[in-house]
């Protein structure tokens, strides 16, 4: 039993790391723009297709694919914000949220139109798991975990150490004060959406590397990502990461005790429990 528990824990950390990047993107966008961007699932899928084209069609290495995923999703996310969502902003956050849901459907169907419904796999051999005593783990999953951690570290460095990152945090904290200091909130908003969407694109690619991609790849994880972000405290960057790991681990541990079909219910019970005790989420500073 202990072995099963340990294995489920390892599996949970891995699936948590896959959720973490989109959750980070979602939370960052919420922090600065103050609306839940429901198109992140579709943006993750778009990024994954970008990576797939580079890797499977053009035959370039996975690393180039990951970079491409970031670029595709970031550009698409920023274009949608500039072209559509920003204009809806006058109607309030709810209007933007609904608009983003609609955009998600548009993106998904454009991808379906361009690439078809079929599963697409990356040009990557599938390796058997490595066994450490009672625990087994896949080399690809270790890679994914490392990439996810690396991207998170880079994001932290960007936010903490660069002037742009500092401006982003300033706008998230207090947009009016930031404007007085000469920071243009609109530029920062666009930039945040680009970075957040890019993170989703990389997250989608990692999921695709672990499984395969189809137009629904991102839509399937949307609820879990949302749960992770809410759990961690909407708008909190470290919170999103913590939330993703908690949700990932909770979902895997469920399998041991309950029928696996209750997985989603479990994530929502976890949210309910946390929010009852701490309405701001695990690491949120204020109730969002």
């Amino acid at each position: 039993m202990i072995e099963a528990l340990l294995q489920a824990l390892v599996n949970g950390v891995i699936s948590g790391s896959l959720l973490a990047l989109p959750a980070l993107g979602f939370s960052a966008i919420f922090a600065v723009l103050r609306f839940p961007h429901f198109a992140i699932g579709a943006l993750a899928t778009a990024g994954a297709y970008g990576a797939w084209v580079v890797n499977a069609r053009l035959g370039l290495p996975i690393a180039a694919g990951v970079a491409m995923a970031f670029a595709v999703a970031a550009l698409l996310g920023a274009a949608l914000e500039y072209g559509v969502l920003d204009r809806l902003g006058r109607g309030g956050a709810l209007m933007k949220a609904i608009g983003s849901l609609a955009l998600a459907m548009v993106i998904e169907n454009v991808l379906r139109f361009a690439f078809g419904n079929d599963l697409q796999a990356f040009d990557l051999p599938l390796a058997r798991d490595v066994v450490f005593g009672p625990i087994r783990i896949g080399p690809q999953q270790i890679n994914n975990l490392l990439v996810a951690l690396g991207v998170m570290a880079a994001l932290w460095a960007f936010l903490a150490l660069t002037p742009l990152g500092r401006s982003m945090r300033a706008v998230a904290d207090n947009p009016d004060l930031a404007r007085l200091k000469g920071v243009d909130p609109r530029v920062i908003a666009l930039l945040t959406v680009a970075v957040g969407s890019g993170l989703c694109g990389v997250g989608g690619t990692l999921i695709g590397l672990d499984t395969s991609i189809d137009p629904m790849t991102g839509a399937r994880i949307l609820l879990s990502v949302f749960a992770a972000a809410v759990l961690g405290g909407l708008g909190s960057i470290p919170g999103a990461v913590a939330g993703a790991f908690v949700i990932g681990i909770a979902e895997e541990l469920t399998v041991l005790a309950l029928a696996p079909s209750y997985r989603l219910a479990v994530s929502f019970v976890v949210i309910l429990a946390v929010l009852t005790v701490r309405p701001a989420g695990l690491l949120g500073s204020r109730a969002a």
Partner: protein
């Protein structure tokens, strides 16, 4: 812009409401074309089958129209997407029935969609021809408005169980997402395996998960020698990868609609190597099947396209035989053209000519003999046993 007075507005609204309240039949099927709907999964897990299902119906209808239609009336096909999703399917069915006024719906694929759509159909007197397998579907109180050309789950489950035993399995694990046929499927697998002296276990997983590692671990602790996979393509791809990673060395059996070319193409060859699949066999080699191949311009059309071709042929001939175009006419006459002896026909144009000339016909279709029981199940079905070898799905036997 003209201003409408309140009175005019009310009058117009009353008129519009009155039109809607008229018996549906008046609006639907006057002297224009006969309207039939296809409701197939153009997106979602059935998305790789739905487009050709709708396409073959359209092309077969065009053939019938070119040959003079059904007793001189042209057929118009309206195609909708059920998104492999019950809610979306129901919305689309409502649109087909209430707005377009179709007298029959062809093609619902996923059992969950068919289950959602069926009551609306029989309540509106619309005939439903489906390719779904769940036992529960034909047990609904549909009053004859449903037929299906897909063998039901009890039959499929038994075949899966018997095939597992044939492969020498002592311990069979069943892994599946929750579907309307999961329970019956497992029950009949267990029956067949127990009869052969083996035992079974089952695990229901969430088909939206990106990894099934913990589920796989859970199942492998029971040391199964055969795992039967009950999911659709996308989740089965995840499952097969995770079984490979976990170094499972036993045998895998899946549904033919899940372990298909698409899945095999998406996985490295050594991962999919050796997976067995089972699917209802088409009547490959028959005239009707060759006809479907020609209509679609492919070598080997899948069973669902073949079944939809049969649906349209049967519906067209039933309308001709009953000299009417409503769902009730189709319901009352479909068995008269499908079975019970008579001139053997394999497509609608030929059948329609014979029926107009007063000859009794017996349709043998692209998916099989197409004979139906009282509740709408097919009476006879053959299965296709295949195995993935070196990245190709190859035929083992048809039995």
């Amino acid at each position: 812009m003209t201003e409408l007075s309140r009175r005019q507005m009310l009058a117009a609204a009353a008129l519009a409401a009155g039109t809607l309240a008229m018996p549906r039949i008046l609006r639907a099927q006057g002297n224009g074309p006969i309207k039939l709907g296809t409701l197939t999964p153009l997106t979602g897990s059935g998305g790789s089958y739905g487009p050709s299902m709708a396409e073959v119906v359209n092309r077969a209808a065009a053939e019938i129209n070119a040959a003079g239609g059904v007793r001189g009336r042209q057929i118009q096909i309206i195609s909708e997407d059920d998104q492999t999703n019950p809610e979306a399917g129901l919305r689309a069915a409502r649109k087909l029935i209430d707005v377009d006024g179709v007298s029959a719906i062809i093609g619902t694929w996923a059992s969950s969609v068919t289950t959602a759509v069926a009551p609306v159909c029989w309540q509106s007197g619309v005939f439903l021809a489906t390719v779904s397998g769940a036992d529960s579907i034909t047990q609904l109180p549909h009053g004859g408005f449903i037929i299906r050309t897909q063998p039901n789950t009890s039959l499929q489950g038994t075949k899966f169980g018997e095939f597992s035993a044939e492969l020498g399995a002592k311990t069979v694990a069943f892994m599946s997402p929750q579907t309307p046929f999961t329970e019956a499927q497992f029950k009949f697998i267990t029956e067949a395996v127990t009869k052969a002296g083996g035992k079974t276990s089952s695990l229901i997983y969430d088909d939206k998960k990106t990894t099934l590692r913990t589920e796989v671990d859970q199942v492998l602790r029971g040391r199964p020698d055969v795992i039967v996979m009950g999911g659709y393509t996308n989740d089965t791809a995840v499952l097969v990868r995770d079984l490979y990673r976990a170094s499972f060395r036993g045998k895998l059996i899946g549904f033919g609609y899940a372990v298909n070319k698409q899945l095999v193409d998406a996985l490295p060859a050594d991962v999919s190597e050796g997976i067995y699949t089972l699917s209802p066999s088409t009547a490959a080699g028959s005239g009707a099947y060759a006809h479907v191949a020609k209509l679609l311009g492919v070598d080997a059309p899948d069973t669902y396209s073949a079944q939809c071709f049969d649906h349209l042929s049967l519906i067209a001939m039933a309308m001709a035989a009953g000299q009417g175009t409503t769902g009730a006419v189709i319901k009352d006459n479909v068995r008269k053209v499908a079975q019970g002896g008579g001139e053997r026909v394999t497509e609608a144009v030929e059948g329609l000519n014979l029926i107009t000339a007063g000859t009794k016909v017996d349709y043998d279709g692209a998916s099989g003999p197409c004979d139906f029981t009282e509740v709408g199940d097919i009476t006879d079905a053959k299965f296709r046993y295949e195995q993935v070898k070196a990245g190709k799905v190859t035929l083992l036997k048809i039995a």
